[in-house]
Symmetry: C2
Subunit: 436 residues, 2 copies
């Protein structure tokens, strides 16, 4: 359509009494509209030369050639999206080598997390491993110990699954009250990717486990020699030895060239840079399953080997990073997930848990994967408390903070899955609060 045709069209729309703007959005956006169209139509209808370049006029980028193919053989997001990045919290850990960065959940859509912004959790930083020098050794209570190269491993049958990955400390800072002022930091040790690898069961069948084999130790090639004990039923179940993530080889910070994936289980057990699997008859009680990654109870004892990431959810829009600008209709959106299977039901409350409304799913609903939900809501501009509550296919209902603290006290920093509350101010500003 030429500029002249466009001018004629815009004039005819204006003369017919229709405003070329959002004000005519009668159905979904009837109330609380941004008057974005007013300025645009004013300049457009005037047809003045200075209006050229302001959409809906034909903008300058429609009048010239853009960059050609493979100018970016491996592409990147638009420079306008540079704010979408992993971030860390400097006070959280002593240094950045054994630290955490967080996924920018507020800017994500759907259920796939782009590999470039999946959260990071290291114990000795990211090792740089040449894949042709990497080996996986499988030994212990087995009949035929082996050492596999990457080429060897990739000849075994493999499968691809979309599963969430969550650090068990996700939200751990919230046990004692609302602390984090951004969604990225309150829930951002969370991601969901497609993972491709060989079933651990296939490898254990290859080596032939002994009759008394009951546990598998997984050890990483990083400087921390990160290691965790995995019970045999998980090892023979859905555990995978994974080499690819979201279609391509694992990213360095996600374990390149090899990691363990235990779907639905705490991220700490998804041992990265996997170099050794030892089969034994009891757990090893290594550092990361004793002094860390146990749940300290009110009476001073600890729950140990608490692997499953229980059913959880959070509202991602609005959130502190995504305030409401004006009154009117919105989709309250969020994420739900469960380490035990599919999400069955999500409720949303706009009155701090007094009443609940069933949300709809707006993505694929896959087992042990992030699941998107949304609820249409007409915000009248008053202050309120927003919550979501997920139920998984086992019937498990996400608990309140009161229920969680009654069961486990307030010492813990792991497996916090309580119903989260955002306070929405009359100005549309969202803050992190807690109610029991």
């Amino acid at each position: 359509m030429s500029q002249r045709e466009l001018d004629n069209l815009i004039n005819s729309i204006a003369q017919a009494g229709h405003r070329v703007s959002g004000v005519e959005r009668r159905r979904f956006l009837k109330s609380g509209l941004l008057m974005v169209g007013a300025a645009a139509s004013a300049t457009s209808v005037a047809g003045a030369s200075e209006s050229v370049g302001v959409p809906p006029n034909i903008p300058p980028w429609s009048k010239r050639l853009g960059r050609g193919v493979v100018s970016h053989p491996y592409g990147s997001p638009s420079p306008h999206e540079a704010h979408v990045q992993r971030r860390t919290v400097d006070w959280l850990t002593a240094d950045r080598i054994a630290s955490i960065s967080f996924t920018p959940l507020a800017d994500l859509n759907g259920i796939i997390t782009p590999s470039g912004i999946v959260f990071e959790r290291y114990h000795a930083g990211v090792p740089e491993i040449p894949p042709d020098q990497h080996r996986l050794m499988i030994h212990g209570l087995v009949k035929r110990p082996i050492i596999l190269s990457m080429d060897d491993l990739m000849r075994f049958p493999s499968q691809s699954v979309i599963r969430f990955l969550e650090c068990p400390a996700n939200g751990g800072m919230e046990w004692r009250g609302a602390q984090m002022d951004k969604l990225q930091f309150s829930h951002g040790m969370l991601a969901c990717c497609e993972w491709t690898g060989v079933r651990l069961a296939t490898l254990l069948e290859e080596v032939g486990i002994d009759a008394n084999a009951a546990w598998v130790l997984a050890e990483g090639a990083d400087g921390a020699h990160m290691s965790r004990s995995i019970p045999m039923d998980k090892a023979l179940g859905d555990a995978l030895v994974v080499f690819a993530q979201n279609g391509e080889m694992l990213r360095p910070e996600q374990g390149y060239p090899l990691r363990l994936v235990n779907p639905g289980w705490e991220g700490n057990t998804w041992v990265k840079w996997l170099r050794r699997l030892e089969v034994g008859d009891k757990p090893w009680y290594h550092r990361e399953e004793t002094s860390k990654y146990t749940d300290l109870m009110a009476d001073g004892t600890s729950r140990e080997f608490t692997y499953v990431q229980e059913c959880n959810s959070v509202v991602t829009s609005p959130c502190p990073e995504k305030p409401f600008r004006v009154k009117g209709k919105y989709m309250i959106q969020g994420l739900a997930w469960s380490g035990r299977g599919k999400i069955k039901h999500v409720d949303v409350s706009v009155d701090g848990g007094v009443s609940w409304h069933q949300a709809q799913f707006t993505s694929q609903v896959l087992p042990k994967a992030l699941t998107r939900f949304a609820l249409e809501w007409d915000w009248d501009g008053s202050e309120t408390l927003l919550q979501s509550r997920a139920i998984d296919e086992t019937g498990y209902v996400q608990p309140t903070y009161g229920q969680l603290r009654q069961a486990r006290g307030t010492n813990s920093i792991y497996h916090k899955n309580a119903i989260h509350t955002w306070k929405l101010s009359p100005q549309g500003i969202v803050t992190n609060v807690q109610i029991s």
Copy 2:
């Protein structure tokens, strides 16, 4: 595990008569083994100082700290994967502004294509569009024409779906015989991503279409003003106005900030940089649906508006880029897809179509999405012809070249979905051949 413990372990394995190598892989990799373990165990068991650093010994990267968190706020693949990139074929088009780059299918896993290596197809290059200046105008045979900003659009209900994207010219060079020497070029105008957007039906409901509305014109903001006519049943069906891809905002080369997604339909209709939707009572017969993107038949007439990408498949391993190195057991792997729904069944032939074996699915099986299949095969080292044949849930069976040419002649360059043949040589080298 310390180096000393490791040395003891490796010695004990060696003394017990087990080779610390692939040669003990009795079950899956019994025949045709790479003797990768021999060298490794020789140096390891010797325990000589020069063996330190050769896995299974503790390698240098396990003895030092790696890089810390957010050293890469938006991460990239390992430098060892730098060969995985989009590539173009210089003789295919006159220049790179109106050209094609291809997805490196041979190096992909699962069904998600990383956004950075999704193939490109431009008609005037990639425009650089500031999202706050982008507008979508919806007008024509509607009651309430509107112009939406990106903020406006993102307040509507949205949904996320995983769907394949394929250029209708994918494999078009093959109509007259095998031409392309790589999988990347024979099938690489293909990708599969999660797309998030607003149903076009929702937007059309917002503006209120007239009784005689039957078609929608979609126009892009690029210099080519790319435009296509979409029939109303698709517009009111599963068509989406999409702003996000694989979780984040669209990449510039995929239409940032807005594109049309017509699941299962030829990529050319997925208009990028979408700026205008016009509702009409007949198709527009614009350039890209007359002189291009029609199928020239043997008698000189053209099939027009041939939107659906019919059921198709290809073996991705082995392929020219992924030869076999030795005899023995392999998983023959590949991709299948159909624009009409889910893949129901894939057969693989290792004798040029004389006999067929049912492959297994190794990924999610989703409608109008790439689907992974695999078949275990023990290659005896003889020359053979490898093929795959997909059947979708409508019962449509992927045709042979003979069947396709009988129906449509050899003039066409669009909608080539014939059964593809790779010739595997005794040396494990794979070449592109054709059989009818």
